[in-house]
């Protein structure tokens, strides 16, 4: 399935060159494309260069495939269904989400709007295809720790980039929504500002998000949280990567309405939470994630006052 999704990102002739690497879909993390540069793939944390026959090696060889501007344009046209205008907002934000929830980051010449904000992008010459890996059961270890007598605690997941925050959050949402041995299923509202959690493609989540989950895709967090609260009456709201005083205010409003919050933020130490303008006392559980021997692990779970309940 994932192999088909990866190959589906490329037009016919170019697709053939990705056949070998697509077979390693489970280990494949990124495909990095630069117009005029060698095609690189990141597989199991190692970088490889693709050659013109689709084979890959860890060194730049003579047969290395240097992506032309034309090929870059073909790939972009294909992922945009030959309708770049339809992806104006997404390209303006710097990424596109494709079936399977995979994200294609793009960079090129930025087009500014009259208000000085980034409106669109032209001459796209850089692409970073991040392969989404849904890990069912990733939150199994965390689930009992964030429940207290059948009640879900407001939880903050803290981790540096690439340590599985979003993967953990996604599985938490699924389990909370579907219900688990720790608590019955709840109405979950997800504000997926960058389409990373649910990986929505044309409004439909590409990842399993649970039967009671409602997703607000591509919506700014602060607005999205309030919109969900007013319109969908969720019992739990989940957001990714909070880190501003405005986020704090929105979360406080949600908590005052009796809704639970599950959020993630960048960081690796408890003091970083306050430094980013987030009040740790808003949460009842703070889970720190990290990497051990290259594998994402749950390092510890604390109460806001610092009492360790795991790790």
């Amino acid at each position: 399935m994932k192999e088909k999704q990866i190959l589906g990102m490329f037009p016919g002739r170019i697709r053939e060159r990705f056949r070998v690497i697509a077979k390693m879909a489970d280990e494949l993390q990124e495909i990095r494309l630069i117009a005029g540069g060698p095609v690189r793939v990141i597989c199991s944390n190692k970088e490889y260069f693709l050659n013109v026959s689709g084979e890959f090696s860890s060194i730049i060889a003579g047969s290395c495939w240097y992506l032309s501007v034309g090929e870059m344009e073909q790939i972009l046209d294909h992922v945009c269904s030959y309708s770049r205008y339809a992806y104006e907002e997404e390209i303006g934000q710097g990424f596109l989400t494709v079936p399977g929830g995979h994200r294609i980051g793009v960079a090129g010449a930025v087009v500014l709007g009259e208000d000085g904000k980034v409106k669109n992008m032209k001459y796209i010459r850089y692409m970073n295809i991040r392969i989404a890996h849904e890990v069912i059961g990733a939150a199994d270890v965390l689930m009992p720790l964030i429940h207290e007598k059948g009640r879900l605690c407001n939880t903050l997941l803290v981790a540096p980039p690439g340590c599985g925050k979003t993967t953990m959050l996604r599985d938490l949402i699924r389990q909370i929504s579907d219900g688990s041995r720790w608590a019955a299923g709840k109405q979950v509202g997800v504000v997926d500002e960058r389409s990373e959690i649910a990986g929505c493609f044309m409004g439909m989540p590409e990842n399993r998000m649970g039967i009671r989950t409602v997703i607000l895709d591509g919506c700014p967090k602060v607005q999205g949280m309030m919109m969900l609260l007013r319109s969908m009456a969720p019992q739990v709201i989940a957001v990714d990567e909070i880190g501003s005083s405005m986020d704090k205010q929105a979360i406080l409003s949600i908590l005052q309405c009796g809704c639970q919050v599950i959020a993630t933020m960048h960081g690796s130490a408890p003091e970083e939470i306050e430094n980013r303008g987030i009040d740790r006392t808003m949460f009842e559980r703070i889970a720190f994630l990290g990497k051990k021997d290259g594998i994402c692990v749950l390092k510890n779970v604390q109460k806001p006052e610092g009492d360790m309940i795991y790790g």
């Binding site: 088909k4 190959l7 589906g8 490329f10 037009p11 016919g12 002739r13 697709r15 073909q74 046209d77 294909h78 945009c80 269904s81 030959y82 309708s83 770049r84 205008y85 339809a86 104006e88 390209i91 087009v111 409106k119 669109n120 992008m121 032209k122």
Partner: protein
């Protein structure tokens, strides 16, 4: 009696032939109007909906007449097949089979076949505007063909009838 019957047959034949020629003009005009309505609908869908072209073509296929309706549906279906074939190739292949059968000029056929090259704007407004220019071009042709149709039809019918009468006199 036989001669009279022959004269009638000859004149009717000549008028019928002229009618066929006029009908071709009519079909040309109808096809141009159909092409215009395709681009008009696509332009509206882009402008107000901003949907990708495969979805737009599927929608438009239900609103235009045959043979374009079937061709647009096939294009949309093939785009959804996910076999990686480029839109330009699919469009050219499907449209060529349709355009081969309809009496429009080479220039008009090229305009239709060149549609995929037009889809390169980075924003909705720009894309819709580019299609407006396309529609304007078709409008010019429609006006021109309508004018030609009226003039030519009169001429063809008159010449056809006259030729029929002349032939009858000569043969008598």
């Amino acid at each position: 009696m036989v001669k009279l019957f022959g004269v009638c047959f000859l004149i009717t034949g000549a008028v019928g032939f002229s009618f066929c020629l006029c009908r071709e003009q009519k079909i040309r005009l109808m096809m141009l109007k159909e092409m215009r309505s395709i681009f008009f609908l696509v332009q509206k869908q882009i402008h107000y909906g901003g949907f990708p072209i495969d979805l737009i073509l599927q929608e438009v296929s239900g609103k235009v007449k045959t043979p374009f309706s079937e061709a647009l549906k096939r294009v949309s279906e093939q785009m959804c097949l996910e076999d990686g074939e480029e839109f330009c190739r699919i469009w050219t292949r499907e449209m060529e089979t349709v355009l081969f059968r309809i009496p429009i000029t080479k220039e008009q056929k090229e305009l239709m076949l060149g549609f995929p090259r037009l889809l390169n704007a980075i924003d909705r407004e720009g894309q819709a505007q580019m299609l407006c220019d396309y529609i304007d071009e078709l409008d010019k042709w429609i006006v021109q063909t309508e004018k030609e149709e009226k003039d030519k039809n009169k001429l063809i019918m008159s010449l056809g009838t006259a030729a029929g009468i002349l032939l009858s006199i000569l043969l008598l």
